[in-house]
């Protein structure tokens, strides 16, 4: 799965978040797809694997916790980064129990998310060597 250009999926029901994140990660050399609905993101994951998933938690329909669980079931090696506007200690702990790479509360600056995605990419690349 780990190729030169890593594939990143962003899922957030707020379009402004996807709009901010996509160019900032593309600038770092990632191939980025964005989704505002979890079922559409799930369909994309079922079709092809993503190296890194950045997902919100609180969404209509399938929430982020379930989405990351399903995605991890299909591709356990995918690194998942959770971003949430409604952080609690319980959601943070539950996310890590489900094997997420990192947990980031909103608001965050682009530099912060770039660094975390880059760290996830480094982990994937070093595992592929």
């Amino acid at each position: 799965m780990a190729q030169n250009k890593l594939r990143v999926l962003i899922l957030d029901d707020e379009p402004i978040v996807c709009k901010r994140l996509k160019p900032s990660l593309e600038k770092l050399g990632f191939e980025v797809d964005t989704f505002t609905r979890s079922f559409e993101a799930m369909q994309a994951v079922e079709k092809a694997a993503y190296d890194i998933i950045v997902t919100d938690l609180k969404m209509e329909g399938m929430d982020g916790m379930r989405f990351l669980q399903e995605a991890k079931k299909l591709y356990p090696e995918t690194e998942v980064i959770v971003i949430t506007g409604f952080a609690t200690m319980e959601t943070a702990k539950e996310s890590f129990k489900k094997g997420v790479f990192d947990f980031i509360a909103k608001p965050f600056n682009l530099n912060e998310i770039q660094k975390v995605v880059q760290r996830a990419a480094d982990k994937i690349r070093s595992a592929g060597q």
Binding site: E14, I16, V17, K58, G85, F86, A87, T88, M89, A92, K93, F96, D102, F103, I104, A105, K106, P107, F108, N109, N111, E112
Partner: protein, 286 residues
Amino acid sequence: MRILFAGDEQPYSAYALKEAARLAMNTWADVNLLGIQPGGGSAAPAPALNLALTSYRETFLNSWEGEGSPYAKTNWQYEWFPVTEGVLEERLVCRGSKKDFKVHLRLGNPAAGILAEAREEGCDLIVLGCSRGGACQWAGSPGVPQKVAADADCSVLLVKEEQPITRILACLDQTHVSQSSLEILNQMVTIHEAQLEVIGLNPEGGLKKEVYTRLIEVGDYYQARGIKVNTNIAEIADFESMLSGEAQQDLLALWMGKKSLLQRFFPRDWVGRFVAKSQASVLVMR
């Protein structure tokens, strides 16, 4: 999210630290703990400040019961540090396992030091305590909280006293509402399980249409996210009496923008004026 907690030796800083720790505990934020040594020149904090910073560090790191702290020190690594001008030393340091926790000391002007730390470290929220009453002091200097609240690039939480937050009064007096400000309010409501009331402020005898429209949009934003929100309209003239009376048990949140009605009515340092006047803790949102 990165939180900057700025602490001096006064009791209000201990209250503010508790609030910062609570926020960090829920958001797993990166945290900077900052002390300011006024004046400058010395390479180490004065004994009282050193004692306070040590106590804040230990209180913060011990806030987590049992295992699972994101700040648990497990990552040993060599890093370069400047020792004198032009000389660096390689030292073995231990970093947090998941999230970053740093203690910094800055020398010089307190307000300038806090603002510089927030800017250079890319902080999303500054938390600091301050004394109640008109003087609104920090580290013995009047005006520090007001200056930080007025000039920071990010949101600022001023903690005036240890008290449970059951209601957040968010005041909207202009149309600029950033995504970050909506998100920081989300987090505060979630963490405190507080009621949210958004108040649209209007000049006496008039209703500013743009503010009213924005008020409805903000209300819809929170309702769509399952947050129960009450929206109200109040006249600016009543706002000051609300600050010193009704809002005592609440967190007062103010949206900052360039086209503030409050700024037009109270042009001289209106943020500082309200920060000092409010009996409750204040969140200035950007």
